[in-house]
């Protein structure tokens, strides 16, 4: 099963923000920016920006309580209009990812609520939501067995792989794949895909996402070091 996918690599930072090939856009993250939630984080990837707020572990309604672990709830709000079915499905994906890493057993009969607000959407929204969620959970001090990150890949019509695509690249792509990877072994926690791709392309995108996740985890580590170091 030889694949025909071409992957171009670019070394060095390019001046043009739209350079094709495998590079992640400019990242920025600010934690603890809201005073009311227990943890909050704003994650920016290029022009895509998501704000996450976490409340928990807190009181849970009796109808929703689980006797041996915490109840995770994710709420995603779009910028314009009322939330619809797409938001519900994204909420579920994020919830499944969080349930895999959050140590809910340490806080039984409590609720951990994650609220996400889309501030601007310019491509790879799902990955940005996942990253913001992880940083907000860290800021809230929720116990987790690993950190996680989201990476989006797009495959365009001639099979070129693009990481962290912009809105334009996503629209023109043949397939868009988003993966949630964990920080310990870069194992796959969640994947959601749209479009046509072959088996080989899927594995290649996954391998590329794993390589990209190293950068994201390095970013997490550096930003937390900056915050908690004594110097």
């Amino acid at each position: 099963m030889q694949s025909d996918a071409k992957i171009r690599t670019e070394y060095g930072t390019d001046s043009s923000p739209q350079s094709p090939g495998c590079s992640l856009r400019h990242f920025a993250c600010e934690q603890n920016l809201l005073s009311r939630p227990d943890g909050s984080a704003s994650f920016l990837q290029g022009d895509t920006s998501v704000l996450a707020g976490v409340y928990g572990p807190a009181e849970v309604k009796v109808s929703k309580e689980i006797f041996n672990k915490a109840t995770l709830e994710v709420i995603l709000r779009p910028k314009i209009g009322l939330p619809g079915v797409a938001e519900k499905s994204r909420e579920r994906l994020i919830r499944n990812t969080c349930e895999a890493v959050v140590l809910g057993a340490l806080h039984p009969r409590t609720s951990i609520t994650i609220v996400l607000q889309v501030i601007s959407d310019a491509g790879s929204l799902m990955a940005c939501c996942l990253n913001a969620t992880c940083m907000a959970l860290v800021d809230a001090g929720v116990p987790m067995q690993a950190l996680f990150c989201g990476v989006t890949c797009a495959l365009d019509s001639d099979g070129t792989l693009v990481l962290d695509p912009t809105a334009k690249q996503e629209k023109e792509a043949r397939a868009v794949l988003t993966f949630a990877l964990d920080s310990v072994d870069q194992k796959l926690l969640m994947s959601t895909t749209k479009g046509l791709y072959s088996n080989a392309e899927l594995q290649q995108c996954l391998a590329a996402a794993q390589a990209a996740s190293q950068h994201v985890f390095r970013f997490y580590r550096e930003s937390l070091q900056r915050r908690y170091s004594k110097s």
Partner: protein
Amino acid sequence: MKETPLSNCERRFLLRAIEERKRLDGRQTYDYRNIKISFGTDYGCCIVELGKTRVLGQVSCELVSPKLNRATEGILFFNLELSQMAAPAFEPGRQSDLLVKLNRLLERCLRNSKCIDTESLCVVAGEKVWQIRVDLHLLNHDGNIIDAASIAAIVALCHFRRPDVSVQGDEVTLVHLTPFRTFLLVDPSEREERVMDGLLVIAVNKHREICTIQSSGGIMLLNEQVLRCSKIAGVKVAEITELIQKALENDQKVRKEGGKFGFAESIAKQRITAFKMEEAPVDTSDVEEKAEEILAEAEPPPDVVSKPVLWTPGTAQIGEGVENSWGDLEDSEKEDEDEGGSDEAIIFKGVRMDVGMEVSNTGSQEAPIVLSDSEEEETIILEPDKNPKKIRTQTISAKQEKAPSKTAAKKRKKKRTAN
């Protein structure tokens, strides 16, 4: 989540401090908190921070047909949402009272002030007009939502570029005053709002005309107090308008000069809780080999060929279904029925459904009770000293019976039909 109640000592402390003209954050009674306005990369997107209260505003437009009684006017639609991250008490079902009040007040202030000339939004009279939609999201609640929301709405509208012409409007700023018995506070924080007796909202435009005034909470104010408040509002509006103009000019300048704009730039660099990383290349040269390795090691997927059987147009069956797993039944009659029932029609509210799979039988257990007109009626005699027979669902009648009480009901129903 329930709102954390305010303790009595905290309440007393706040009221005593206000009596002595002291506020928790050290402000004077007529001082506003710091207002910070930042813009996003798209036009019409802004975030306003009034102290710690944060509101996100976004303006969008759409071409629609106008309202029947206003054929030459565009439509302006405001929507304020209290996000659940703003306060733990803002759950989807719970905040309707406050939400309606805020939305109504915001709409009144911004519509009555005529800050947007709706006639100018008309494209083709009677057919196509612009519908301008302003979405406001409260991100953090630290008091004075209405002021922050109104500033965000105005700034977003001023910043917005309609596809042909930019929308310019008269600025309207609301000033939220909180009377505490005889003490007035401007721009209350969340704690101060909790102990307040009532509130007075005055919307003033830059020409010092009062557009809207609302007093709620049942406090009684003297007319000189109201006049004083409106004077304060006038002064504050001038300051805030200047701030808005400056922020808009700055943003316009940065965009024209080609510099970086957007929320990324508004993150303060010197904060330790903020961190940035420039564009990073990712080495994906070995991706192909890795993928090939994985594919080589992986087992080929099992060969599954599905053979659907078409019963009638629109009904197909794949597979044989599973053996009924409900266990042994006391009545062998019932067992025969059940096995034979897998291919029988199930009457469901008068609609016939062909179901091939046995599994659906268990599904029909949850079907609502349907009056049975089947031939298989049985009279069940309840004997109090014996264990009542557990009657299985008759697949033909699709009735649900679990308890003896229900069998009694069945009996009663049968009696009625017999009569």
